[in-house]
Amino acid sequence: MLETLLPILIFAALGLAVIGAWRRVRLWRQGRPSAVPLLKGLAAMPRRYLVDLHHVVGRDKVMSNTHVATAGGFVAAAVLMILVHGFGLAQGVLGWLLLAASAVMFVGSRFVARRRRNPPARLSKGPWMRLPKSLAAFSLGVFLITLPTVGLLPADFGHWLLALVLAAVVVWGLGEMVFGMTWGGPMKHAFAGALHLAFHRRAERFGEGNRSTGLKALNLDDEAAPLGVEKPADFTWNQLLGFDACVQCGRCEAVCPAFAAGQPLNPKKLIQDMVVGLAGGSDANYAGSPYPGKPVGEHVGSPHGPIVAREGKALVDAETLWSCTTCRACVEECPMMIEHVDAIVDMRRHLTLERGQTPNKGAEVLDNLIATDNPGGFDPGSRLHWAADLNLPLMADVKQAEVLLWLGDGAFDMRNQRTLRALVKVLRAAEVEFAVLGTEERDSGDVARRLGDEATFQSLAKRNIATLAKYRFQRIVTCDPHSFHVLGNEYGELGGPDFNANWEVRHHSTFIAELYDAGRLAFAPWKGGRVTYHDPCYLGRYNGEYEAPRNVLKALGIEVKEMERSGFRSRCCGGGGGAPITDIPGERRIPDMRMNDVKESGAELVAVGCPQCTAMLEGVVDAAAEVRDIAELVADALVARAAPEAVDASRRNAGKTAEEVI
């Protein structure tokens, strides 16, 4: 009986799956066009899956092995099942292979079940709770029905009743695994995920050592294109596809600083809301952690309805979008390679450019940028005031230099001016030939862009690009990772092919490490206390620079006491993405949490490499540790290279002396 029933069931499930897939594809295609090479993408998919994706999944070994067993077992079992039971090709080794595949999958399913026994808060519940049972049903069902096929059991084993039970189990398994895959069940992730990998909007992020973190430019000259994303259908189709790939594992939620601070953002929920939006409906069925302070079930959306309501509620509230610090911790952790930050900035672009609804100080900062080319609204002529006594060479005078020292807007900030002065001291100690743009420098546009004001970003960027083109230099060095990122990763799209053909951008920690390696700097031994290092998001996750700052600290004689969350898992200071400007309230402050991380490391000093991080961490009340930029630590430790014995006692001391602070 089963021999008759099985092919019918299998092909019925496959047929329904094809219909479901077609319906799903239609949903994705509501999005705007995006030129991705389809065939090339499909060809690259297996490698992206097996290498890039598993590199992320592999950070959790148990889960990685579980997934290999379950998914690998399933894919093999499904193919073999179609051959063996669908087409009746039971001869030879195929049946045995099917037995083995389903057995492996069954083992995997047990690990999935174990994970679901006391699931962490980040995992979505709901339909996902039945998945281990469905996996077990499928694998067990397939295993059992294959036993007679390979002759381990007699063909007429058991009663018809048993056959019926078996058939039911197989139907359950097929329903979840095949039909459910395209009709919105948990297994959707496999279908959408595979295609998402193939048609990913950042193909350049795949491959060993590659990363793609710069925001993509809006074409402001295209009058037909929307300014950002107002409704789900304003996303490109492959962005919508990407949302659909979400497996609701909640790794993003677990690392999101805004979520941890109790601000109304949960990256997983946001992606799921986009899924609700692309299909239409309410978020009532969402079975994970809500946005802090926002109950589930009160928001509805549709592909062509606004995501953020002009009045009342729609799919997502604006403050959810403005809570993001753009720290990329979610993107870094996402095993499905979803680009949360792109989506958030796309939606912010609409709010800022079309509606003028940048909250709190946002509008003021953007007005300042438009009027004065800096976010603080300072007199642009005062950018070099901090260096009035340093006689810095100006590019306008010297026209060329080995290094262009990019100041960033920290030039207007008294705290960062100390870092800049320390950096100048270091450059001079190493006899680096450098110059500054002085009042020709403008804000890099980082904040404008991340607040959604693409027009102001492009205006600033184009003028900076034109200024840079006037001079000759080999390197830009900056102590601001945001400038570093924007100059290095985001100007290229606007600056034309030869824009940065003749120079590279370096974060000051990288440059100092190079100077030290070249023997151009010498340091007195470290005499301070325990030190930890805070990775700035825009240096670490955005640009992959984790080593150089640590190498500099090591050269200073400092043994870094790492925080639990460091390197690519570093916790954001809360200062990125304009978050301190939009200032969405939460239950805690992100920098307080980060300073607590510092405290737990036992460090008395936290070394940083970013003006934003410095400002945020120093803003923590009753902090247990001192905050100092790497440049300051280096400047303090400088000794003459030739005659180390000539160093006077005050220089050797690691304490703050007035000479360094002003």
């Binding site: 603080g376 300072f378 005062s382 005031h385 901090w386 009035a388 006594d389 340093l390 207007f412 900030d413 008294m414 705290r415 001016q417 100390r418 005499k527 005050s650 001391n653 304490g655 703050k656 002396t657 007035a658 000479e659 602070v661 002003i662």
Partner: protein, 690 residues
């Protein structure tokens, strides 16, 4: 940005100054070796530059000629080329830290002393005596005028060759240039006096000669007063006319403006306003000058606080603010503003210890910062953490000496406990601050309070430490700064008793602290003549008492400095306090409800009586030595200091000697009654090596 107005660079002539804060010219009394800017001088200014000061104008009243004596106030001598290499050291030290440095140059004319050194004959336009220095002088002759004009030019050349950034011509404080300006002093009828142009001529010739000598790429400024405050002197309108006249030459790069002339004791007190003055009392005069000139205007006088400086600069009243005493109190004030450490700034309280020493020809020191002017000796403004063992340090007494000891020990990284019997820190400062016009002295305590809390010192207020409590803490070091008590028991005839019911006399502390209610008819006997007697008189008169203050010294308040006794006198005379000198307190006895004070004339022995209802005696402090002698024998060092090490600013040898038990040091009035600075200095030099 907070304080952005302060941190705006400015051009003076062709020079860029990194911010708007100036340490204006003042006499440091630090130039040694015949007026050379030697190590102490250089380090004093280097510290300010290191701390971020934009411009230092050094050398108040630095002389250009040999007949303007420099030795009285150890001022800088620009009358010889010998100064040039010394200037190079000075310039390098300041430039190294990004600061700029200029020097004030002058001829003092009649405003000096003649009775010493070269026995110079002083000069002035019309030979009129100067009262503050009791200086007589001759009428200057034409030849001397031209010689001195040439001396100015040569002095400016020496400043330029020494690498300084500019010179400030002093036409203020009644120096020779403004002696010519002022019709009060200039009665000449030749081309150097009479008409406006004639009175201006000397200064104009000086300016022309200087500019011709140094050229256009060297800053030349002029310091003037905004109003002499004498009916027969130069008014504000006169000064505006003068400033505009000189400005019109286009040869001056800046003006410095000071309110008030200073050739009487009373006007002198205006020039360096003490704590009785409001903030920036003469800013309006500088602003008036700024209205009529085309170059930057600097103004100093009671600008001590960054918010005040920001407000003045933001308002555009002047272009640069002088924060000179502010820098004496804390040469790192600018760095602290930049570091956002406003609460850590040691703010000048206007005690004028610095300037009052200067007028006596003593080196300028700060009442509350013992490191100032002692940088060359190695006394630190920033106390570095010790690399030695962490020690348990117990300080007894929360007066200035005890607070400084606790601060320094805590900065060194030690575990510090401070006992203070009173409910608040401050010791005698708290009492001193009760007098009218003297409340700001409590700023000294305020800073220590903030610092001790910041440094985590265990403050046990309202707790009198005894031997057992101290030793329970198992201290490594005990510092006693327990002060003392008013010394009323010296003469039994005064009728002092420890029982307040029986005592016929009370102390100024009793009065100022409110322990004893003010009488209605009070005799104050002041054998000390420092602040406490006149403070008590001012306090009692303020409360409505009829007060007579009697001293056996030459006058009440005789030991109060030259910029402060005038402000007391203004207040005491206004309140009709009677000031009597030359009488000793012979005896006090009770008669009915009244007290009779018998006074004896020191010179005739004649007795006279006063019938009053309260007799207040100020006879100094008797050290409180009880705890010291209780601990002395148990301590490792028997409470002794190695004086050679102490005076050489070296660590006390006992600190590095091994042994059981604790080290004992005492300082301040519990050793011998001295003053606030003495207590703080001892605390710093002893504790800096803990």
């Amino acid at each position: 940005m907070a304080f952005d107005a302060i941190f705006q660079p400015i051009q003076i002539g062709k020079l860029t100054i990194r911010n708007r804060v100036v340490s204006t010219a003042h006499a440091e009394v630090h130039a040694t070796d015949g007026g050379m800017t030697t190590a102490r001088y250089v380090k004093y200014y280097e510290e300010k530059a290191k701390g971020g000061c934009g411009l230092c104008i050094c050398g108040g009243s630095s002389v250009v000629s040999i007949d303007s004596p420099q030795a009285w106030w150890s001022s800088v001598n620009l009358s010889t080329d010998r100064i040039i290499p010394h200037f190079q050291n000075l310039a390098d030290a300041v430039h190294k830290h990004g600061g700029k440095i200029m020097i004030q140059i002058t001829h003092m004319g009649r405003r000096s002393r003649w009775d010493g050194y070269d026995w110079s004959t002083l000069l002035s336009p019309s030979g009129i005596r100067e009262p503050v220095h009791r200086s007589t002088c001759k009428t200057i002759e034409e030849e001397e005028i031209w010689r001195i004009i040439g001396d100015f030019a040569q002095a400016a050349r020496r400043a330029k060759e020494g690498g300084l950034d500019g010179v400030e011509l002093s036409a203020v404080h009644q120096h020779l240039i403004d002696q010519f300006w002022s019709p009060r002093v200039n009665k000449r009828e030749d081309q150097w006096g009479g008409s406006f142009e004639n009175r201006m001529r000397f200064g104009m010739e000086v300016l022309k000669a200087v500019r011709a000598e140094v050229g256009d790429d060297f800053v030349v400024g002029m310091r003037i007063c905004g109003d002499e405050f004498h009916p027969d002197g130069l008014s504000h309108e006169d000064m505006k006319q003068i400033a505009a006249y000189y400005d019109a030459t286009g040869q001056l790069d800046f003006f410095g403006v000071i309110g008030s002339g200073c050739d009487t004791h009373n006007t002198l007190a205006n020039v360096i306003p003490n704590m009785s003055y409001p903030p920036e009392p003469f800013l309006h005069l500088a602003a008036g000058i700024k209205e009529v000139v085309s170059v930057p205007v600097i103004h100093a006088q009671n600008i001590k606080d960054p918010n005040q400086a920001q407000r003045i600069l933001e308002g555009g009243y002047v272009d640069l603010v002088g924060m000179t005493r502010a820098h004496i109190a804390d040469p790192h004030i600018i760095a602290k503003i930049k570091m956002g450490q406003i609460d850590q700034i040691k703010q000048c309280v206007g005690a004028n210890y610095c300037i009052d020493r200067q007028y006596q020809g003593l080196d300028v020191l700060c009442i509350q910062n013992a490191a100032t002017s002692r940088e060359y000796m190695g006394l630190p403004h920033i106390i570095e953490k010790s690399e030695g063992p962490k020690r348990k340090v117990v300080v007894v007494g929360g007066g200035p000496g005890g607070m400084e000891a606790a601060r320094v020990a805590a900065e060194r990284g030690h575990d510090v406990t401070l006992f203070e019997a009173a409910e608040a820190l401050g010791g005698q400062i708290t009492i001193a601050a009760q007098a009218p016009q003297r409340d700001q002295i409590a700023g000294i305590t305020r800073w220590y309070q903030l610092e001790l809390v910041r440094l985590g010192v265990d403050l046990r207020l309202g707790t009198r430490a005894d031997e057992a409590t101290l030793l329970d803490l198992r201290p490594d070091i005990v510092v006693l700064a327990t002060g003392g008590q008013p010394f009323l028991s010296q003469f039994p005839e005064w009728g002092y008793s420890e029982n307040p019911e029986e005592s016929l006399v009370v102390s100024t502390w009793d009065v100022l602290s409110g322990k004893v209610a003010p009488g209605k008819n009070v005799l104050i006997y002041d054998a000390i003549c420092e602040f406490s007697g006149v403070s008590a008189a001012d306090y009692l008169a303020d409360k409505g008492a009829k007060v007579e203050i009697v001293t056996d010294d030459i006058k009440p308040g005789a030991a109060v400095g030259g910029t402060t006794f005038p402000t007391y006198y203004r207040s005491l005379y206004e309140k009709e306090v009677i000031m009597t000198s030359d009488l000793m307190l012979h005896k006090v006895y009770r008669e009915g409800d009244s007290l009779v004070a018998v006074l004896e004339n020191e010179y005739t022995g004649a007795l006279e009586e006063r019938v009053v209802d309260q007799v207040v005696v100020e006879n100094g402090v008797r050290p409180d030595e009880g705890l010291y002698y209780a601990l002395k024998e148990q301590s490792r060092n028997k409470g002794q200091l190695d004086l050679e090490a102490l005076y050489a600013i070296q660590p006390q040898p006992c600190l590095s000697e091994a042994g059981d038990g604790f080290l004992l040091f005492r300082l301040g009035d519990c050793t011998a009654p001295r003053n606030t600075h003495a207590a703080i200095y001892d605390a710093l030099r002893i504790c800096k090596d803990f």
